[in-house]
Symmetry: C2
Subunit: 426 residues, 2 copies
């Protein structure tokens, strides 16, 4: 399939700065961007799409979520963390079936596509079901069968299952699915299992996705239990010898930051979740200053309560300015990098995350003809501070249009909503 | 006009708690709600509107904005406050004409209606032009010709102008427009003018709208200049003898909080603006604990950068949980009160801000058939944490449908957008 998108404004990244090429053309050839520029490209196309008045941006990356948790959306709001988990979340999760996870994954993907997300990094039960929904929908995802509640008895089986998932799914769906190694957290895994797993990850050339230092309690418990921080714990287990995507990183010491920097650990900032659960504020500007790569995540919908990357862009741009009383922190270009290019890199996806010839044709059109996007002196800033997920009028992944003007091209949305409403975890 | 809204889910407030009456009826008679309940009301109606699958909520109140500043949307993002004001905002504001303010007010009102806002409190230049746009559109507003840059020479004229505006506009447009007394801030007004003005306000039975303690610098400058905080300064000028709507209140002492409480000053929380400008975080949970009434505001679009109350609900629900590390702070009911009933009361509007027979027919329908609003175990929490302004499918003020399924009933939106894009302040 060859597509031509004409008369669009293209958000480009040059030398780390974003600018807009006005009234331009972008063409695709299969899964790749074949051309972009001011002149109409020669040749024949299967379809020409007029994007006058639309801003074309790279697709967004949601680098940490538990997609099927949309089934738990809105459950137990405003409760203390312990009661929320113990009385509301865990009992429902114990009732989740593979079929529920498939239905919830489809709902989550429908939500994400409508919000301009082209790829997500997930960690949840029954990942084969999420993979099935990813494969059918055309979205991309990094999935894992992660370690959780490990001990000497179940070590061999957990590692074997995780590895089997990795081998079966890495590169599936024409490369749209990538498999990661996954570790829930230091406090749900035993050190020896994580040590063995780290060696296997390194041997496989895989990436690891994990939760890290989400709260002060998590850090203090680790210090009390083994005299080291969670960051030191994973370093000592060898986890950081492979590329790592570490989510949250709210409670860090100066030494932790140095360890993350030296080991090129990427950090996923989930500001909504961290605020909603009362976890605190990750020291993102300090991490950026240390050259640590930042991506954005929604976390699961139970602690957000949606999968809307525009809100995470908005919040991550505002939050640190406010708490550090410095309006120059987390400027537009850092937020856009986090939502796009950094996310692609932290998923191990090459030639993704920018509008560039030869890159994957993953992009999103924003309808700029809305009262809240007028006037538009600085479209990049509008995107971060003013735009809404509902301004997305087209989502394209690997050159395939998945969502266009409110319609899904690969998803029967009425059946998805019907099936999701039938999930009963009570 | 008598309207019947059938099969809607109605968000009701009983004993300070919100609950939803499912599949119910609400009828209007002129500007008032004539009935709501489970049974279809008898009698004839001019139109019946089926709201199956929609949640009907009280209209939202934006209690602090500078509506015409949408003309400056997206100008000078990520700059230090001083440079932003001096180099970007002030030079453009000096070029604003009455015609610009009218065009920008129309754009702002179109944006607000689409976001479910039924009433706003404004402070800006050429308020007669904003009044004109309010009158034409059907929205409600509290407007003021405020004091700014006062001194002994211009005192008489400024007070006279403000009073003339009050007399001309208070109760205009069938009561949709209310006029307030307005004071920009202690640092742009001289004490004697404010003292005289406070007496006049008290004599008129009017309300006062002002900026108060937005930043540490503002508070510290006041202490250095006159040995009192801005809160003490206004108390000593007599301003608090009338009902006051005080915006920001970021930098408060314990004594300030006691003064606000004793004088029943209402506080408008503008979390996005406070964060974007690096002003800090207002101690809202502490104010709530002291029984001080809180409403929400977007502030002007130049420091937000939109007029979307859903974002302010979302942020005010999240921010304090995160910074104080307590997920029980600012629960759903407090956020909904701030966005609706408290706002109405702080505008001095009686019988507004709730869905109740005999109250003004100001309400908003939310389309709940969206992936990000499924499932819906707790619709009130969904509204605060998951819903988007774009889920608004109908906005009604004083019994008149102003916005319905993306269409404006009182505004020629294409001409509004065209005129707004032509504003040139460069």
């Amino acid at each position: 399939m060859k597509l031509l998108f004409s008369h669009a404004d293209l958000l480009q990244r040059n030398g780390g700065e974003y600018s807009v090429l006005k009234d331009a053309f972008l063409s695709t050839d299969g899964a790749l961007i074949s051309y972009l520029g001011k002149e109409r490209p020669p040749g024949a196309f299967d379809r020409e799409i007029d994007l006058r008045g639309k801003l074309l941006i790279p697709g967004l990356y949601n680098c940490h979520t538990h997609a099927p948790m949309v089934a738990l959306r809105g459950v137990g709001s405003d409760l203390p963390l312990g009661r929320w988990l113990r009385d509301e979340i865990f009992p429902r999760e114990r009732r989740l079936t593979a079929e529920n996870v498939y239905a919830a994954s489809r709902l989550a993907i429908a939500e994400m596509l409508a919000c301009g997300t082209v790829s997500f990094t997930d960690m949840y039960f029954f990942p084969e079901q999420t993979a099935r929904a990813v494969e059918e929908s055309g979205i991309k995802a990094n999935l894992t069968k992660h370690l959780q509640m490990t001990n000497a008895e179940n070590r061999a089986r957990q590692i074997e299952d995780s590895l089997a998932f990795y081998k079966a799914y890495h590169g599936a769906a024409g490369g749209r699915i990538r498999a990661d190694f996954g570790i829930h957290a230091w406090y749900t895994c035993d050190f020896d299992t994580v040590r063995v797993y780290a060696d296997l990850c390194s041997d496989s050339g895989a990436r690891t996705h994990l939760h890290l230092s989400e709260t002060d309690d998590e850090k203090n418990d680790c210090l009390a239990a083994c005299g080291k921080t969670p960051v030191q714990w994973f370093r000592d287990a060898g986890t950081f010898r492979s590329p790592v995507t570490a989510t949250h990183c709210v409670a860090l010491t100066e030494e932790d930051i140095a360890i993350l920097r030296e080991n090129r650990v990427g950090v996923v900032h989930c500001p909504t979740s961290n605020m909603k659960l009362g976890s605190g504020i990750a020291p993102i500007p300090e991490l950026v200053k240390n050259g640590i790569k930042i991506a954005l995540g929604t976390d699961g919908a139970a602690s957000n309560n949606n999968l809307n990357l525009f809100e995470e862009m908005h919040l991550s741009a505002l939050l640190h300015k406010g708490t550090m009383k410095d309006p120059t922190l987390m400027p537009t270009r850092e937020i856009l990098d986090a939502a796009t290019l950094n996310g692609a890199q932290m998923q191990g996806r090459e030639n993704c995350g920018e509008l560039k010839a030869g890159f994957r044709a993953d992009f999103v059109a924003i309808d700029m003809d809305k009262p809240h996007l007028i006037p538009a002196p600085d479209p990049a800033a509008l995107l971060v501070y003013s735009a809404q997920a509902s301004d997305v009028c087209m989502t394209v992944a690997d050159g395939k249009i998945l969502y266009e003007n409110g319609e899904y091209r690969t998803i029967d949305i009425e059946s998805v909503k019907f099936d999701a409403r039938r999930i009963d975890l009570s």
